[in-house]
């Protein structure tokens, strides 16, 4: 295993971790964010809590894995992105801490003000998590405000522009769509019946295709489009990926309007996964692109750890990832019973 192979392999592993994470996180954060508008009483809120609470922490570890894998495989890229996005990462951290605590302590005190405050915090932090992740991941594809010496360019808010905010809203809308479908699929009673109808009323299903197109246009990001990377240039057949992503986002719209929860769920997850695959294919071999000047971006070769460390990480991933997927898959299957209104 030489350096070039390991660098590519770990790039794929990190892309895979982000994909496995976000495909699941969208329906957890989405169903959580919906608790305020959807749950008519505490019984229904508790159904949502159980349906998403059972899985959230096992899923969040995929985020930690993606972050520490970046640290282990590409230390320079890890340190640079976190230093440049200092404030954004602290906001994300606060949202993650709030969600994690609240989802478990919601009903630990018999006090209606406690429950109300926690329900609001649960909803807001969940929405913020998925929005900020959308902004961050879109920036990972289109470039961060990085100068030649890897220092930050511009202010704290330099991360936010039309494309990245579009990415944030894309993630949020996919989260709400898949979250509503998740509630419809994993709970019983009035809650399940109303879940997808409510977000249809607010036109959420229209958002994924619209924001997807906005992000793909790369408006305001000059010559740093994801479609001019080495892979898209070398193999134009890969343009089937963004095309498929758009088709699946139309699937979200179609099955959302038709109120078919199972297909809606499937297509929302597929849209998320294909968007990420398109983005990572587009940025390869750059781990951290720069929006200031494409030449300032950090490539796999620039940031790569030494071969000995990369080999340990890669072997550990090859051994443990199948095992993790196995026991997390078992958990989904073993606890697949629908959450009833009164046995939550």
């Amino acid at each position: 295993m030489n350096s070039a192979f390991l660098g590519d392999a770990l790039f794929v592993v990190i892309a895979l971790s982000w994909t496995v994470y976000l495909v699941q996180e969208i329906f957890i954060t989405g169903s959580s964010a919906l608790n305020l508008t959807l749950a008519k009483d505490e019984g229904e809120r508790k159904q949502i809590q159980v349906a998403s609470g059972l899985h959230w922490d096992g899923i969040e570890v995929w985020l930690i894995a993606a972050i520490v894998l970046t640290f282990g495989a590409f230390p320079l890229a890890f340190a640079t992105s976190f230093t440049v996005l200092y404030v954004v990462f602290f906001l994300l951290l606060y949202a993650l801490i709030t969600r994690g605590v609240v989802i478990e302590t919601l009903y630990k005190l018999d006090n209606s003000r406690w429950i109300r405050a926690n329900a609001i915090a649960w909803s807001v932090s969940s929405g913020l998590i998925v929005f900020l992740l959308g902004v961050y991941v879109t920036s990972l594809f289109y470039g961060l405000p990085i100068e030649a010496d890897h220092s930050a360019s511009g202010s704290v808010f330099a991360l936010f522009n039309v494309t990245t905010i579009g990415g944030g809203l894309l993630f949020l809308s996919l989260a709400l769509a898949s979250g509503a479908a998740w509630i419809a699929l994993t709970t019983e009673g009035a809650l399940a019946d109303n879940a997808t109808a409510l977000i249809k009323k607010y036109g959420i299903f229209l958002m994924p295709p619209v924001f997807l197109l906005l992000v793909f246009m790369g408006f305001n990001v000059l010559d740093n489009s994801i479609f001019i990377g080495v892979l898209f240039t070398a193999a134009p057949i890969l343009f089937v990926l963004p095309a498929l992503t758009f088709v699946t986002s139309l699937g979200v719209l179609y099955f959302g309007l038709k109120q078919q929860a199972d297909r809606l769920f499937l297509f929302a997850l597929l849209t998320m996964a294909l968007f990420l695959v398109t983005g990572f294919v587009g940025t390869y071999p750059i781990v951290l692109p720069s929006r200031v000047d494409p030449a300032f971006g950090i490539t796999i070769a620039d940031a790569m750890t030494q071969v000995a460390s990369a080999r340990i990480i890669f072997i550990a991933v090859c051994f443990f990832y199948p095992l993790i997927l196995f026991y997390q898959g078992w958990k989904y299957k073993r606890f697949a019973q629908k959450v009833k209104p009164h046995d939550a």
Binding site: A79, I97, A308
Partner: protein
């Protein structure tokens, strides 16, 4: 200024995280013991005790697990230059911690929290065993990373960064294993005190029907304190002898040869830790021998409720010895702490420091209120999970 604030912020966030860590890694072992007794003998009282202490474990675990992410974030936001220099060596233990330990504990914790009532006896034991394995392995790997910072073996400094040479040496670093065993024993000791304090409260003020159960819990708490307080000084002594060979400047601070202000703090902390260690040993022996007297004496029970801060003080003191004794090094003998800090505007560090102090203040109050409220509810009829809560 960025360095001072970043150090303050890291110390604060890791100290806050460490309120929950020793309690949860110790308590889950005690829950595992109860669960094992229930699995073997099918005695209902052990199931009830396991459910009760699991509830207290789960509240604190919820706070512990998420506040741990704060450290990972700070490696990048505040200690970027440390991460770049150390990435080749520091990265792999963190990756292994996440994929071996975090996945395991988090996946099974969700089951224990939300679906405990739906599990068979065997699946209960498996779930608790997996959480215990996850928390223990997590401690092993993070201490592997920390142990390297104290005794950098298996890698060399090439002028700009650490270069990995032998991963086996990093994993088998004696410093790591001394530290791990010492830390874990003190965490179990602390949980013993917590179990004993909670049991004392129930013997004094709890429901009448719970009293027999909490006598059993108190017995377990006492034995745990006794066993760990015997092991701690024995192993601590060889830990100290080993430190003589790898960290001479720390030994100078402990013995008083170094008289700088920082060294005085280290020396005092060391004496506080060792002094308390002997108090715990005496306490463990006394309570084991005179257990009947404790069970009948409201005065003793009242005092025992307030003993929980003592093991926390001992743990913090021991920690000050370990980490302050390492200064000025971030990697002992190789890289100074000041060289590890990020190039970040000081205003941003002020922002994070102030907001995190406020935020953690709220979290601390929440955890305290929830834990005390759950303790006082006593044994509940339901199985746990979220049924009828």
């Amino acid at each position: 200024m960025v360095e001072i604030l970043s150090r303050l912020q890291f110390a604060l966030t890791i100290a806050f995280h460490f309120i929950f860590v020793p309690l949860t890694v110790g308590l889950i072992i005690i829950v595992l013991v109860f669960e094992f007794r229930y699995y073997r003998k099918g005695e209902e009282k052990f199931k009830k005790l396991s459910n009760y202490f699991s509830d207290i474990f789960l509240i604190n675990y919820a706070f512990g697990i998420v506040t741990g992410i704060a450290m990972t974030v700070q490696f990048g936001t505040n200690w970027g230059n440390f991460s770049i220099a150390m990435g080749d060596v520091f990265g792999s233990p963190l990756v292994l911690e996440a994929i071996i330990a975090f996945f395991l504990e988090s996946t099974f914790n969700g089951i224990w929290f939300f679906r405990r009532h739906a599990l068979s006896k065997g699946l209960r034991l498996l779930t608790v065993a997996m959480i215990t394995a996850g928390t223990t392995l997590s401690a092993v790997w993070i201490i592997t990373a920390n142990g390297f910072m104290h005794n950098p073996v298996g890698a060399t400094w090439n002028g700009t960064k650490m270069v990995l040479e032998d991963f086996g040496q990093i994993v088998l670093n004696p410093y790591t294993w001394y530290m791990f065993v010492h830390n874990h024993l003190s965490a179990i000791l602390l949980s013993g005190f917590v179990v004993l304090a909670i049991s004392s409260w129930h013997l004094l003020k709890g429901k009448a029907e719970d009293k027999e159960l909490f006598k059993t819990a108190a017995r377990y708490g006492t034995w745990i304190i006794l066993i760990t307080s015997i092991l701690l000084p024995v192993l601590g002594n060889s830990y100290l002898a080993y430190l003589n060979t790898v960290q001479p400047t720390k030994i100078d601070m402990i013995t008083g040869l170094d008289t700088a202000a920082l060294a005085v703090v280290v020396r005092l902390s060391f004496h506080v830790m060792v002094g308390l260690g002997f108090v715990f040993l005496g306490f463990g022996i006394y309570t084991t021998v005179f257990r009947k007297r404790y069970e009948q004496s409201p005065t003793l029970q009242k005092y025992y409720i307030y003993l929980v801060p003592l093991p926390y003080i001992a743990i913090i003191a021991g920690w000050l010895v370990t980490e302050l004794g390492r200064q000025p090094w971030i990697i002992y003998g190789i890289m100074e702490t000041s060289a590890g800090v990020s190039d970040v505007p000081v205003s941003q560090v002020w922002f994070s420091l102030i907001t995190i102090v406020l935020f953690y203040g709220i979290l601390f109050v929440m955890d305290y209120v929830l834990t005390i409220a759950r303790i006082k509810k006593g044994i509940l009829a339901h199985e746990g999970g979220v049924v009828n809560e």
